[in-house]
Amino acid sequence: MKIYVSFDGNRTLKAFLSDKLKALDFNCKLNGINEIELDDNLSSEKQNELFNALNHYHIEVIEDKKIAIIERIKNSIDEMLNNEDAQLINSSDFLADKLNYSYTYLSTLFSEATYTSIENYIILRKVDKVKSLLLKTDLTLTEIAFKLNYSSVAHLSGQFKKTTGLTPSTFQRIIAKRKLTQQNNL
């Protein structure tokens, strides 16, 4: 028997982490997905124990503050794309507000470390979301365009084609054929 599951990675991880930390009896607070606030009195021995516990799940403690900020930018972008109200706010204002740094600082930091600009990253992320909505829901392209705050279907299709080199319908056809081929090979 085969069953299919669907989950929001961020929420799953958060629930998992907070259960795990409780089970290990650490007095700490989860601030969002990438930030754990530790009790100041935590002994270094206990701290190491926590780091090891996290490492076991391939969660690394980021010592570099810049990398931590970049991770927070990426998470805030996802939050923005998942929240229809937040999409109405200008993304530079949203990020500056959320992270409490100037947008110029954030965008310089981001470009230096990721080989892409925040704007481009948002486009890639949005296209990734379009793909998942195309494959996992019955929403039409028009509905997806509306949901992700594109000004028109043409704008969405244009951005999709520019980013992937394929039209949304070619993309859908290829993925459907690929699934069929994989099933036949089993």
Partner: protein
């Protein structure tokens, strides 16, 4: 640092590709193979450093690109590798067949060095995002 492999039987193409990669700001480590059999032998060596991104020519002697693609995608230890087809063919059939069989990227070999550099740069930069953020690799398709 991205670990990259190019498998191409044409010596000039390998040389141009290496030059293009060296010119691009993304930090890379490049390995070259002349044909598919060498590549598969390397990839199936125990404890070998697997590439993050594999460029694959289609027309090669001994074992062609399509055969390599199918073998890699059928192998549980290798199927996560992102594969970029790098071919002179612009046939829609070839493009669709490779995507359907699991390729992520299709690059038609550009005719000038400048265009080659631009294409490889785009691939590396997009690939970097897949490498460092949780994008869905199963639906990663890019045609250049």
């Amino acid at each position: 640092m991205l670990k990259i492999i190019l498998t191409d039987d044409d010596e000039d193409d390998r040389l141009f590709f290496k030059e293009a990669i060296d010119d691009i700001s993304v930090e890379t480590e490049l390995k070259l193979f002349n044909h598919g059999q060498d590549l598969i032998t390397y990839l199936t060596t125990p404890n070998v450093a697997l590439p993050d991104l594999l460029f694959l020519d289609l027309n090669m002697p001994i074992k062609n690109g399509m055969e390599c693609l199918k073998e890699i995608k059928a192998n549980k230890d290798l199927q996560h590798i992102i594969i970029a087809i790098y071919s002179t063919s612009s046939s829609e059939q070839d493009i669709e067949d490779t995507f359907v069989n699991g390729a992520n990227i299709y690059i038609k070999k550009p005719s000038s060095f400048k265009a080659l550099k631009k294409a490889v740069e785009k691939v590396l930069k997009v690939n970097w995002q897949y490498h460092t953020s949780n994008f869905n690799r199963d639906t990663f398709l890019l045609r250049i």
